[in-house]
Amino acid sequence: MTRIGLFITCVNDALYPQTPKAVVTVLERLGYEVDFPQAQTCCGQMHANSGYRKDAAKLAASFERVFGSYDAVVTPSGSCAAMARDQYPDLIGSAIGERVHELSEFLLDHAGVEDVGARFPHTVTYHPTCHGTRALGLGDKPLRLLRAVEGIELVDLPEADQCCGFGGTFALKNAEVSSAMLEDKCRHAAATGAEYLAAADNSCLTHIGGGLSRAGGPAPIHYAEILASTA
């Protein structure tokens, strides 16, 4: 039996309990047992990408301590998985990233499941988040899982591959450019007329959702929550 450690990420720990709950629901529905190690905090991505290498190394080392004994670590964040896989080898000389999987990678590549038995009778548009898609190489994996959901109507997002402008501390350091990128993303999202905008990273969804709550448009939702739904 694969020992799965759930890494919920600091963003979800603080703001979005429904997303890791959904991951637990989906994995248990497929017969997996999931463990949640309480000592987990943050992967160190914000620190590393903001230029604080020593701080990032400290957090990476603590991630390694917390998750080192698991066969697989599953996380609902493409960018955190990419952090562990791309940066930990150089940062702390650890290969643990090879065992850290974004949810869709785990479901498709490890569990070999495309239809997770979900039902979600709504219109949904999907934003492929940059780190998940490009750095981690998720490609259309989350979208393939969504296509198998019963009742879902997927609507194409215009210029989907364009960054939403979040970029971690970029959103604060270059707030004006970030906001201009967000404005375009929100306009395209609203043009789809979809009820929901799904993505594989709640940090990007915090950004897009924060813009959409002012501009109007689809409700942001992590795709794991759609996979968990049986409504």
């Binding site: 943050c42 604080y52 940059c130 750095a135 970030s178």
Partner: protein, 460 residues
Amino acid sequence: MSTAFPKAAKVALGMPQLRSNLAHATGTIRGKRAGVVGELDDWERLRDTAAAIKADVQHRMPELALAFERNATAAGATVHWARDAAEANAIAARLVREAGADEVVKVKSMATQEIELNEHFEAEGLAAWETDLAELIVQLAEDKPSHILVPAIHYNRTEIRDIFRGSMADAPEGLTDDPAALAEAARLHLRRRFLSAKVAVSGANFAVAETGSLVVVESEGNGRMCLTMPETLISVVGVEKLLPRFEDLEVFMQLLPRSSTGERMNPYTSVWTGAAEGDGPRDVHVILLDNGRTDVLADEVGRQALSCIRCSACLNVCPVYERTGGHAYGHVYPGPIGAILAPQLEPGRHDDLPYASSLCGACYEVCPVKIDIPEVLVHLRQTGPHQAGERVAMSAATTVMARPRLWRAALGAARLFSRPWRGRGFMRRLPWPGSKWTSSRDMPVPPGESFRDWWKERER
């Protein structure tokens, strides 16, 4: 710590015409590039090969530079070495005077933009005439290039017509903004310059060590005119432009036109090796330029920036560049490549440029020589300076996040602090520095029950 970029970006964002010109132009080139790249089934292998050739050049730079000098000299060229911009400009100005000239025609060249050759010539009483259409527009407007390949990308054709009418003495009466009419006006204007020029100044896209040849890749034919008609030719070439073998061109000539103009093949490719009696310039000079490059070589992560072939594909896909334009970067190399090249070529300056990116990775995806731009951006952030206040905040965050109990306490405090907003779902206004977020986006409110509470309840 510089804040020049965010400030300049804010100004650029307030110019709707600029934003629309850029979005239109970059969008068009992006589409063309994607089309012609998609035609090749060995694109990824070409990229890998190009990256390997460039890495080899970086490892063998001194040896290859000396081989180039030897072979170019044997073919009749004179090779000069310039440590920096001042040396290169001084050599070029001296050569122009020795040729008995007081003006030169120029092929579009980033190296001469980098060393500000035109400005230096002007100060020395020499005139440098740009002959590339876009460079001509920028020169007539007394402006600076805003794009590596398309220096006048920030202008639309109506603005270009106005520049011609205002600053081109021989502009035809009643000039319209029809692209063909504008090109014809430029042709007539430039023809006179080509016919009278005694000296030309160029850069080079490639310098082949094994043969001592230089290569210029261009679209308009102005380059060919400059490279063949004047008696004296001076080429300013960054040492990173070296290629070991002539056959290496086969790889780069597939990658460059597709990545830059979105064409399978560019209209004009000029290759010359020294001087040939009765064919082209009789006096051929090459100024090999360092200007910070060999220092960049010492950085194992950063040196991949020297692989750049100046195609601009990264600029055209960059969501930041598309919205700010090139001038905001405050350097001759703008966009993603500029954000990693400028702070390395001029250490201690441009230290805010590595932050002018959301790290979305679109640049790396299109780079024909596979420069991992996001990797270098993060590396430069990690080796560059930080603001004192930010350092304190970040280190406080680390202290909390490195201790699970403190982290849980902090989450509890955040839930407590945000309780008044809970019913509303979002916080619309936060005090500084949160105000930088809420200036354009709402902030979700931490939930009443955390995942940890839920999990504990379940385990019971």
